[in-house]
Point group: C2
Chain length 428, copies 2
């Protein structure tokens, strides 16, 4: 029986405490993206499988959550958001002035073995700029990624953005006579994560060596104009300290065509918090060449960033303070005399109409139990409606200070005023 109460493997239930953590990230993502002039869009959860098979090949397609619907359609639960974005923009780009700056926060699905930080269902924030080929678009996205990290309380030293350019590697391949560029990039992508012999064998198969690759990475002479332009742009914004150029970053997906970047946890160096890059050919591939639109974007999932916040005391403190504020009930109406329940209901209704978060006991209960419920709700104030109504008692929950509200006082206006101020001298 216990099993029937669990979600499917790799899926999560978000009861209110966990949901509030997720919402913390959603709101930060959305707030910073709006400040940057990005507009929110949303794509369907289910897409035709052709959209992904056409596009990303390799890594993603082996992890697709794929099924036939009742009508026999080959369907997929989206593994990421970029393909849907490219599909929507390809169809509707004439409706919007360029460049498009769009973001999405949505659920994605991968059928892989569930493990820490890798689940079958997860949230992803995606931000993209379409219609602008210059490195200024890439810099705008990297600045957005940095400011999201800062909004979450991270500071210089907590994380680093590693910036690279696939076109530098295209130059390397041309010079070395490497023709299997995809295979070569896969090997470079795994440089830090695979045994050295395995990488060497992979690279030799494409016609080069680890030594040549390492030599190329360590020579700043191979940095492209795009990399220099992004760096200057970020320096002008005062964000230069967060970025380093590192050609060993190439990103796994086949569709990247130029600048790529990843945000790394500086403390543990190898954990990637966000990543993305330029995909100038994807819209053209989806439209069989009918519409071309340069594009660049990045994504950040909810799992790794949540781990990182938990491990970083100053970021965690900020999240906990936010959660505490969100959970707070502003006024709990205590009904000390059931005969006055109708008057209490009217008060509850008026407080809520004024925008005040208000709760009260649905069932009759002893007054001390009601105060306990007010405590559970993290109420700031309790208003006691008793036999002395229309006189009301007001209690500051934190200090237990109690006062009377005279019958000629408007309790809603009084509470609005009190809520806008600190809890008062007894708290200080």
């Amino acid at each position: 029986m216990a099993n029937a109460l669990q979600p499917l493997p790799g899926f999560r239930d978000f009861a209110p405490p966990e949901r509030l953590v997720a919402r913390y990230f959603f709101e930060a993502w959305s707030r910073v993206a709006s400040r940057y002039g990005f507009s929110e869009f949303e794509a369907p959860i289910v897409e035709g499988a052709a959209l992904y098979l056409k596009k990303s090949g390799g890594e993603l397609s082996s992890q697709l959550f794929r099924f036939a619907d009742q009508g026999g359609r080959d369907c997929v639960l989206r593994p990421e958001l970029t393909a849907s974005l490219a599909r929507i923009v390809a169809g509707r780009q004439r409706d919007f002035p360029k460049p498009l700056k769009w973001f999405e926060i949505g659920r994605c699905f991968r059928y892989e073995k569930p493990q820490r930080g890798r689940l079958r269902e997860f949230y992803q924030f995606n931000a993209d700029v379409l219609g602008e080929p210059s490195p200024a678009a890439d810099a705008e996205l990297i600045a957005l990624a940095i400011d999201i990290m800062r909004e979450l309380g991270f500071v210089a030293g907590d994380f680093v953005v590693r910036l690279s350019d696939r076109r530098a590697w295209q130059g390397f391949c041309d010079a070395q006579g490497v023709t299997d560029v995809d295979g070569f990039l896969q090997a470079v992508d795994k440089l830090d994560r695979e045994p050295a012999e395995k990488t060497e064998a992979r690279l030799r198969a494409t016609g080069t060596t680890t030594e040549a690759v390492q030599g190329f990475i360590s020579d700043p002479g191979h940095h492209t104009g795009g990399l220099a332009a992004v760096r200057s742009d970020l320096e002008a914004r005062g964000l230069g300290d967060f970025v380093e150029i590192d050609l060993s970053v190439v990103r796994g997906l086949a569709y990247y065509s130029g600048l790529v970047f990843e945000v790394f946890d500086a403390g543990r160096a190898l954990r990637s918090v966000a990543g993305g890059g330029r995909y100038d050919n994807l819209v053209a591939v989806l439209t069989d060449g009918a519409t071309g639109l340069p594009a660049t974007g990045f994504a950040m999932g909810d799992c790794v960033i949540a781990e990182l916040v938990n491990e970083t005391p100053h970021a965690l403190a900020r999240m906990q303070a936010w959660r505490q504020r969100q959970r707070t009930c502003e006024v709990y109406v205590v009904i000390a005399d059931e005969g006055q329940r109708p008057a209490a209901m009217r008060l509850v209704s008026d407080l809520r109409a004024a925008g005040i978060r208000t709760d009260f006991p649905l069932a009759p209960a002893r007054v001390n139990r009601q105060f306990k419920a007010a405590g559970h709700a993290l109420a700031r104030f309790a208003v006691v409606v008793g036999s002395e109504f229309p006189e009301l008692k007001l209690k500051v929950m934190a200090s237990r200070h109690e006062e009377s509200l005279a019958p000629n006082t408007d309790p809603v206006a009084c509470l609005q005023q009190r809520l806008a101020q600190p809890d008062g001298p007894l708290l200080a």
Copy 2:
């Protein structure tokens, strides 16, 4: 090719203009629910099929989006949120003081023929109270539904809540010797929507007649104590005018066990905007009787309510005003001299760090094109960075009024102050 750019049948793409409409509803739902002391939760999109087959029977199971995953699991894209909620609460109820007041906003899926107002993928708001058997919990939910409608700009006369009680019909069945209560309630549910002969045949099959049913509906003597209690509670809150008791409402799903209600569009009488009721046995069914928890809840989808807003001028005006505010860019930084781009980037960065929604041209462009882009972005102010930097020009976009900011002025502080005020005398 055109087809490859469309979503699957019954699915929607939300480009930013449509997404903003959806967000309007999400924010209203979330804001009013929080004010009522409800906490947000979120369940997985994919659930084991057994959860739905066990629970709802009949109507829903024929419309399930059902598939086998790669591991051979019998999976379902959730058709509604109540089953997942009951599953989560059954497993974790000991972690939370009762009653639970939880809400969720999420996507649901039904495999049915797509038509106006009925899609394969839609959003649903769900609010539930668990652990409180008294009609006060039902009244709290109905008040929440009414206040959501009012938050959206609807007023008395635009909509009506019809309230009923399945226990009244249980009494009718007992008196009439009707044993197939589910079949009987299905017939009553379709009373207004099916040809009279068909209903009569259905009712006769269960051992009663349309005449007996109509007689029962029209006799207030059959109103239960629960109905009276809910009505008194809502009257005490000042919400009595929005509710009428109507026993012809029974709701389609098999799991309802007591009070049920629907919110109807008053103008077109038959269109249901929201609905729900008490389901006191569901948690016990899911746990094979191990855990019982009285429960009541309701749901509102995004499709019908959006139609209703569009058809109701005062509600539509409120939504449009909100959308306009949301779309506004606060400051657009115009770069009149590319040599000053680094200074402009620094200004953009500082404005955004102060929480100001700021945009700028990613690529060099003529000044009049930049002002056009500022207009598209609905910018309130443009700041012109030109060769006279550090002197800046400030332009009020609506009035075209222009002024200079002296080099010793802090432009961020100045703009924060201006944004907090109306646009100034030239606008009046």
